[in-house]
Homo-oligomer: 317 residues x 4
C-alpha cells in the first residue's frame, strides 16, 4: 500500500525514471501556514552534496510544486497534492535486463511479473522525496506544539575496497513530545515508528531506547525510575513505555544496509536466470548517509502527527 | 488501535484482572478446519512451565472457548470470536496506587487519566493470549501452503542479583514463503513484521537478516547474489528485499527488555508523585523467554497471512 | 468486514443459533460513565413486544454483559467488549436445507460454500443487538454534547393476506449536531449514514432531506437560503450540504423490505437446486418496525461520534 | 477522507480553480493494459455537450495525463497517478464573498474556517473528473471478467421558470457480476454502493431493487423465488441479498438535487451574515444529467472491483 498514516496520511507515487514523483497529503488541518522555504530546505538536505564523497554525482534540483490544498499560503483542509519533477531520468540501459543483487529486481519479477528493471522504478530511493515533503508539513504542525525532531549519523561502515558501498547507523530524537501519544496494543508509538523506518529503502533494523542492548540487561539496571514530581532518572525505554510516550525524548536508531548498486562489477543473472556480469555505476551514492537523515525525520514526523491527532479524542470529556 | 491486519484481522480485548481476554478474527476464509487441539497446544506453549525458573508461579490454565464463526469444526466465513477465562485475577492491591517503573502506569495516567494500576490491566502480557489464538488460526492457513514458522531464544541476559529479571533476544524464521509477498512503499513485509514485533509488550528492537550488522558491512560483502536458476548464494537480506519476500527464509530477531516487575523492592512514586517503595512480586516471570516464543510466531503468522491475501489480486490477470 | 467506523469502531460477531452475539468497541475515550441501565433500555426497545402484532413470539431476554474496558463504571480507554447471550437458539431444522427466498441462503452458498442455513446464522437480524449496544454507548458520548437522535415509523405496508409480512419506512432525526462534521469527498456525513443504513438487514433505500423528491424539484424551490445571522429558512438538504453538517437537524429516511420469512408456505428450492416447499414460521416478526428503530438510531450515533472525533483535528491551530 | 476503497483505492485532489485535478490509484494489479482511448472516451462522456441545453457553456477539454504506474502501456503494480489540467479556472469573483445557497460555502466556513468560496474549490463537481478516470480503469478490470455497467437518466424535473435548474433521477445496472461479492455486516455490496453514490455532489438518495417501494410491499409480493437450476423468477432485491450479490443484475437508482447555482438571482448572505443578492451565473449546468452518468458508473465500478478483490481469499482453500 502506498499510503502511510491513519488520520494524517501520505499517499505517494512516481518512478525514478518517470516524469516526476509526488504525493497527496490528506487530513491536514485547515489554516496551517505552509512555509515553502522550509519544505524546500528539507528537500535540499536530501539532495546530493557535491562535496560529499558518499553522494551521487547526479544533478538533482528537486523543487516541490504544490498542486492543490493551499490557498494564499495556508491549507484549505482539502488534500495537498505535490509533485517534484525528475531532472535526470535516463535509465542505465545496459543493466536493464540484469537482476541487480539485493535490489528490487528479482522480487518485482516474482510479485508483478516485471521483465526489466525500468518497470520497477517505483522501488527506488527517489520515492523518498515524497516522504520529505510530507514530513516537512508534518514538522510545521509539530513546531506549533514545540515538538522538534533531529537525527545524526552514528557510524558508517569502514570500507577499504574501491567502488564499494557502506552501511550506516542513524539515531533520531523527538523532543518535547507530550506524554500519552500512541494507541493501545497494535497502534503503539514505537510500533508505528518501527514500521515507518523499515519502510525506508535499505533499512534493516529498528531499536528504541536501549534497543538490542536491552536483551543483555537486568530489570534493576534497566527500569526507568521516577522521583518526586514525576521526574525520570533515566531513559532506557527511549521515551516510549507500553507503546505510549512518557514525555521523555523519544530516541531510536535504525540501521541501513550498504547501497546495493556498486561502482564495481558484480556477478548476477538476467531475467531468464542466465549468469551475467553487472557493470558498476558511478551514478549512485556510496552510503545512504547523510541524505537519509531528512527521510528518517520525515517518517518520524508523520508518526508523531498521526499519534497527536488520534489522542485528541481523549480530551473531550 | 486494538486491531491488527488489513484483510485477515484480529481485534482483541480484555484485562489481566478482568473476567477474560478474547478477540475477534475477521477475514478468515470459509471452510477452514479449525484444529482446536493445535490452537490449545499453542496456548500451552505460552503457559508458565513450573519447571522453568524463568516463569511465573501463577497457575494459568488457559483454555480457548470459541463463541462464533465455526460450524461443525469449520469456519463459516463469519467473524471468529473467542475468549480465554482469567483464572487468577486477584490484583496485587498493595501496589495498585504506586507507579510501576518502566511499566504502563505512568503513561496510562497521562493518556487516559488512570488513577491506579488496575485500570490499566489491558496493558499486560496477559493480552498476548489473544495473539496466540489468532496466530494459531493463521498458522493453520499457512500450513495448507506448506509455510512454517519457528522461533528460538538466542540469548538471555546474565543476571547475578537475586530477585532480578533478565532481557532476552529471540530469532524467528518463516520458511517456504512464496516470493512476491509484501506491498510497495509502506506495506512492506518487513515493515509489517517490525510493527508486529514492537507491538509485543517489552519488545525494544527488530532486525531482519543482517539487521544492525548491515550498518557495518560493505556492499560487496552484503549483496545477495543469485546464480543460474535464480538460486541465492547468501541470505544477508533475511528473505525480504525492497519490502517483498524473495522466497528465501525470512529471518528476523527481536530484543526484549527485562520484565519491569521485579521480585525485589524498587524505588518509585505514587500517582500523586510522592516517593514510595514498591514491594517485589513473586508472581511475575523472570524473563519473557520462553513464553514469548509462540507470541512472536503468532504475530509473524498474522503478517504472513495478510500479505498472502493481499497478493492474490496480482494473480487474476 | 465486520468492523464499522474509523476512530470509534465496532467489531461484532455471533450467530443467531450460537451461544451469544457480541462486539468490541474500540476508540472510546477514557473516563466515560457507562450508564448500563440506559444501554439495557435501548436493548429493551429492540426486544419483541408481546402486545405488538408485528413482533415475533420468541422470548428474548437480552441482557448485555460487559467483558472489558470498564472500571468502576467508567471506560478505561481500552476496548469495550460485550456479549448478549442467545436464549432461544433452537434452529428450525425442517428448513435448514431449503433456500429461504430473499434471505441470505443462496448468496452464502455462493460466497462461502454454505450447505445449510444454520451456517449462515451470522446473517440474521439477531446481529443488530450488537449495533444497539454500541450505539447506546455512542449516544452517551453524544449526550454530553447535547446531541439527540430520534426515529419514527413513517408507514407500514398494507398487507391483506394472512401470514404475510410488510415493508416499512422509517425517518430519523439527529438534532443539535454542530456544523462542520463530515469529511471531504468520500467521507461525507451523508455517505457514511447511507452505508450505515444499507448495512442494516432488509434496508433497501436511503434518502436525506428531500431525498428522492429532490429529483423532481427546481433549484429555486429547493435551495436552502440563509438570512441575517446565518439562519436557514428551509431544510430541504436535510442538514447536510456537500457532505458536511450545517447545524440544522439531520433528517433521513430509510425503507425496509418485508421480512422474507413468511408465516405461510413459499415455493423454493433446496441447496442442490431441486424444487421444494418452505413451510411458514410463526417465530418471525411481521415487520421490522418498531424493533428496527433503535438499530437505525444506533447506526446514526456511530456515524455521528466518528465524524465528531474526525473533526477535532481542525480545532488545534 | 479523500480516499475511496479498501484494496483498489482512489485518492484524489484538486480544486475547480486550481491548476489541475488528479488522483492516485493504488492496488491495481500489474500487467493490465490501459486503454487510454477508453479512459479518454469516459472523460468525454462527462464533458459538456454544446448541443445540450442542460450543460454548461464552459469549454472544458479534459485530457488525462498519466504520471506513474504505467510502463509500455501496461500497469506496473505501482500507484497510478494522473492529472487533468483545468482549462477555465477563472473564478466568479463577484460572488466569492457571498454564501452560495445549498452549496458548500457555509459548511466549509464552519468546518475549515473558510472566508471565501474560492477556498472551497475542492468541493465542486470538477472533482468528479478524477472518479471518471479511476472508474475507467476499474471498468477495464471488470471487462476482463465480462462485467458491464450501464446507466440512464430516468427523469428530469419539469422546470418552467427561466434560469432555473432541475433535479434528476438516474438508474444504473451492473450485469454479469458473479454471485458472492460483498462482505458481511458493514461491508455489504449495497452499503458500499450507497456510500459511493451519496459521495457524488448533489446526490440525495440511493435505492436498490424495489428500493423505497419495498416499504409498501408484502413479503409474498416481494420475495425473489428461485426455481430448478437456481433460476430467479424476479429481481425485487436488485441483485443484492444480505449485502451479497446473487448473480442477478445489480440495479440501483440515485436522485440528484437541482444544481444550486442558478442562472437567476438568489437572496443570500455574505460570510459575515449580512443579507445580499447573488447574481446568476451562465457558466453552470442546468441539470447534473447526462454528465453525471459516467460518474455514477465510475463509482459503481470502484465498488465492484474492490468487492471482487476482497472475495479472492475465499477461493484459496
Amino acid at each position: 500500500m502506498n499510503t502511510f498514516g491513519q488520520i494524517f496520511r501520505l499517499t505517494d507515487f512516481g518512478e525514478t525514471h518517470g516524469k516526476c514523483v509526488g504525493g497527496v497529503i490528506d487530513g491536514c488541518p485547515s489554516g496551517l501556514y505552509i512555509d515553502v522555504d522550509f519544505v524546500q530546505s528539507e528537500l535540499d538536505r536530501r539532495a546530493p552534496n557535491k562535496g560529499d564523497s558518499n553522494s551521487t554525482q547526479r544533478t538533482e534540483n528537486d523543487h516541490v510544486e504544490f498542486l492543490s490544498g493551499i490557498y494564499e499560503g495556508k491549507t484549505t483542509g482539502g488534500p495537498i497534492a505535490f509533485i517534484v519533477q525528475n531532472q535526470d531520468g535516463k535509465p542505465n540501459w545496459e543493466s536493464n535486463r540484469l537482476l541487480k543483487p539485493s535490489h528490487a529486481s528479482f522480487v518485482l519479477k516474482e510479485k508483478f511479473g516485471h521483465q526489466c528493471n525500468e518497470q520497477g522504478g517505483r522501488f527506488s530511493a527517489r520515492q523518498t522525496v515524497c516522504r520529505v515533503v510530507a514530513g516537512a508539513i508534518a514538522k510545521l504542525i509539530l513546531k506549533q506544539q514545540n515538538i522538534d525532531i533531529q537525527s545524526d549519523t552514528i557510524s558508517i561502515a569502514q570500507v577499504s575496497e574501491e567502488g564499494d558501498t557502506a552501511g550506516a547507523l542513524v539515531e533520531c530524537r523527538i523532543v518535547n513530545l507530550p506524554a500519552g501519544l500512541g494507541e493501545p496494543a497494535y497502534g503503539g508509538f514505537d510500533a508505528m515508528l518501527a514500521a515507518a523506518m523499515l519502510s525506508i529503502p535499505a533499512c534493516k533494523s529498528f531499536e528504541i531506547g536501549e534497543g538490542l542492548a536491552a536483551s543483555t540487561m537486568s530489570g534493576s539496571q534497566y527500569n526507568d525510575v521516577q522521583t518526586a514530581g514525576f521526574q525520570f532518572l533515566t531513559n532506557h525505554d527511549g521515551g516510549v513505555q507500553a507503546g505510549i510516550t512518557n514525555g521523555q525524548p523519544v530516541v531510536f536508531r535504525t540501521a541501513f544496509k550498504p547501497i546495493p548498486s556498486l561502482r564495481s562489477q558484480q556477478q548476477t543473472i538476467d531475467y531468464e536466470g542466465n549468469p551475467s556480469v553487472l557493470n558498476g555505476s558511478s551514478r549512485n551514492d556510496r552510503c545512504v548517509c547523510p541524505r537519509v537523515l531528512p527521510v528518517v525525520e520525515a517518517m518520524a514526523a508523520l508518526v508523531a502527527v498521526d499519534a497527536f491527532f488520534l489522542q485528541l479524542k481523549n480530551k473531550i470529556l
